[in-house]
């Protein structure tokens, strides 16, 4: 079945190419037309010969993220969340009448594989990119996408440089903003006055949050009792870092790291009989889905996240219900970020009047301005707005894990 589809597709493509070649003189029968041709398969020839029709066809949106590897939970969530939004939009008439075609590629959280995935998507005919999911690949792909003038909206790439170029926007908070917001949250809610930090100095995400947290902590009257790092090559034995935190008398340990190491830290803290409060950022999201992880260890862990699945508003409820129905899983904030990202693209594309026959560069030029003019009510914040430097404007929220589920604080 799959093979014959491929054959049919390649046949369709060949015919479309031949048609566009013969139609060369008539002008703009380029990319968009070919894309429409592949979609309708059998009728390729007529569509191709007929030229690009406005208000129809498909807008090709690419996605990139890790759906295997140690950060697979993020990529999978983004993929599912974005697909859900795409399906909803398509069922309700698409963007300006054009249907969305979504193609998600795996990058295993590896910069090289991510750039390869980007090139694969470009060959496929991607017109704009929702991605990538993790920071380091996002920065690598950003260098390419800015060269190509390809619009890029990352749901969750939080490193500062993820929005370095003017074609890049993000849905989540940037790392420094997360670090500052965490310090403010801990200070304002009087969660602790003596805080220990354990972070990954070899990771741009982790050290980015760490630096801003340390500088903001001083303004909030928080004393940094112990500040210890680890590196990617030495990330299984945390006995020393935890011991130092314990000796310093810290009431709260701040973990601006990813969930796989956090799971280890929680287990080792239990082994040594140390039970402070733990507070993390969006990297901890996914903790509860680690295979065979004892969720009791995560009890009372707090994390800064823009999305709590148990929130009572209609939008969240509707999203959580349909997500559970489709994927049999409670969505995390990455799924919500991705869902918002697709709707932000829709809002901006409608505002700018983007149509399926425009090429990537033209779409990018239009969306760049449109993004700063829209305001959407999303899952991760009400009245989300964007500035021209790509940063979102919304209020931070935190959740606490109680009985194995996120509970709004």
């Amino acid at each position: 079945m799959k093979k014959s589809m491929k054959k049919l597709l390649s046949l369709g493509l060949a015919i479309a190419m031949a048609a566009s070649l013969t139609a060369c003189g008539s002008g703009k029968a380029s990319e968009g037309t070919t894309a429409a041709g592949t979609e309708t398969k059998g009728e390729t020839q007529t569509t191709a010969a007929g030229g690009a029709a406005t208000g129809e066809g498909t807008i090709k949106i690419g996605g990139i993220g890790p759906i295997s590897g140690s950060t697979a939970i993020y990529g999978q969530a983004v993929k599912n969340g974005a697909e859900l939004a795409v399906n909803e939009i398509n069922a309700n008439g698409g963007i300006n009448g054009a249907k969305i075609e979504f193609n998600f590629q795996d990058d295993e959280n590896d910069t090289e594989k991510s750039v390869n995935a980007y090139n694969t998507l470009k060959d496929w005919g991607m017109q704009l990119l929702v991605g990538t999911v993790t920071s380091a690949p996002c920065i690598a792909v950003g260098a390419e996408s800015s060269n190509d003038n390809m619009f890029q909206l990352t749901p969750s790439g939080s490193a500062v440089d993820c929005t370095k170029f003017e074609n890049q926007f993000r849905v989540c908070f940037s790392d420094p903003n997360q670090g500052a917001a965490s310090a403010q949250y801990i200070g304002e809610n009087k969660l602790a006055t003596k805080v220990a930090v354990i972070y990954d100095s070899s990771d741009v995400y982790s050290s980015g949050i760490h630096d801003k947290f340390i500088s903001e902590a001083a303004n909030q009257g928080i004393e940094i009792a112990s500040d210890e790092a680890f590196t990617a090559d030495n990330n299984t034995n945390f006995s020393v870092q935890l011991q130092k935190a314990q000796d310093s008398g810290a009431e709260l340990v701040f973990l601006p790291i990813y969930y796989s190491q956090a799971a280890l830290i929680l287990a080792q803290a239990k082994q040594m009989g140390y039970a402070p409060a733990f507070f993390g950022c969006d990297g901890l999201d996914g903790l509860l889905t680690v295979e065979n992880f004892d969720t009791k260890l995560a009890e009372n862990v707090m994390l800064l996240t823009p999305f709590a699945a148990d929130a009572k508003d209609d939008l969240t409820q509707k999203f959580v219900t349909s997500f559970k129905e489709k994927y049999n899983e409670t969505p995390n904030q990455f799924a919500a970020d991705a869902y918002d990202a697709v709707y932000a693209v829709k809002a901006a594309a409608e505002k700018a009047g983007v149509t399926a026959d425009m090429d990537a560069s033209a779409i990018c030029d239009k969306l760049k301005t449109a993004m700063t003019e829209i305001s959407i009510n999303g899952l991760t914040g009400e009245n989300m707005k964007w500035s021209a430097d790509g940063e979102p404007d919304k209020a931070p929220k935190a959740v606490k894990i109680v009985n194995g589920v996120y509970t709004a604080m």
Partner: protein
């Protein structure tokens, strides 16, 4: 003071795991004169077997460790028979490359079978933590069991080599392969036995490593494998007590430098110490001086 003791004991525990792994390296090197770089990945396979038996099939930890020991022993013998035995006469470089190949093969098989998502390992240790000095010093059950296992294994192995015929045959093969064969010793069988013992130890090391640091990925074995190799060289490769001393020293240095110098530079410090030791004593702490005949 309490925290120093705690760092030290945690270092001993880490060092004990390194020592058990280093034994596998050092025995194989001593007898077959080759570096088995796939050793670290046998540890990972052992970890996955224990994980599957205990967490997926719901059997007890003892059954898990036993099965892991059996499977890893078989795996070790098969690797030796398929990948290394045909190369017995080849250059050491060819064998080294093969070993690296086997290492990648094992990692990729694990990637295929278990996927790359990290799994949280349920500790096989049921010993409760020890609280000393009014609860100021807590030594986890994992730490106690790891250190004791290391000591028991070391005594057992030394006795085995000194007191049994098979052990004596190992010594003979390590001294001179050709002469041993002339004396009627089955060299291939002895080398296979060495791999079997080394791999069985790897399975135990896997269970202990994953219990103390409860995460499991297809790459779990590679970093400890490299560190244990360093420990074996540190103590004098080919020497069994050397592996113990090297492993323990490495673990303690790593933990103390993390605690008192820098938690980020601990690996660099470990390797710097290795370089200094090798400059002073090129064959390692307990290494034999080898007289090359010209």
């Amino acid at each position: 003071m309490m925290s120093f003791i705690s760092y030290f004991i945690n270092g001993l525990s880490l060092g004990s795991v390194y020592a058990i792994i280093a034994l596998g390296y050092t025995m194989v090197y001593g007898i077959a004169k080759m570096l088995n770089f796939a050793h670290g990945d046998v540890i990972m396979i052992g970890g996955y077997v224990v994980f599957t038996v205990v967490s997926t099939m719901g059997l007890g930890p003892v059954a898990g460790i036993l099965l892991a020991v059996i499977l890893c022993t078989v795996l070790g013998v098969v690797i030796e028979g398929v990948a290394y035995r045909p190369l017995r006469m080849a250059s050491p470089l060819a064998v080294l490359i093969t070993a690296i190949g086997v290492s990648y093969l094992l990692q990729n098989i694990a990637l295929l079978v278990f996927g790359s998502n990290p799994k949280s390992f349920t500790s096989v240790v049921t010993v409760p933590a020890l609280k000393l000095a009014d609860g100021k010093l807590t030594i986890s059950g994992e730490t106690i069991v790891t250190i004791i296992s290391c000591v028991v294994i070391m005594i057992g192995l030394t006795t085995f080599i000194k007191k049994t015929r098979a052990g004596q045959a190992m010594l003979a093969v390590s001294e001179d392969k050709g002469a041993a064969q002339l004396m009627g010793i089955n060299v291939d069988g002895t080398i296979a036995l060495t791999f079997a013992i080394g791999s069985a130890l790897a399975a135990i090391a896997g269970a202990l490593l994953c219990s103390a640091y409860p995460t499991l990925t297809p790459y779990t074995g590679s970093m400890p494998g490299i560190k244990a190799f360093v420990a074996a060289v540190f103590g004098g490769i080919g020497s069994i007590p050397g592996a113990l001393i090297g492993g323990l020293l490495l673990g303690v240095i790593e933990n103390l430098s993390k605690a008192y110098i820098s938690s980020q530079l601990s690996d660099a410090i470990v390797f710097a110490v290795l370089i200094v030791v090798l400059l002073v004593k090129p064959t390692g702490i307990l290494g034999k001086k080898i007289n090359e005949k010209v």
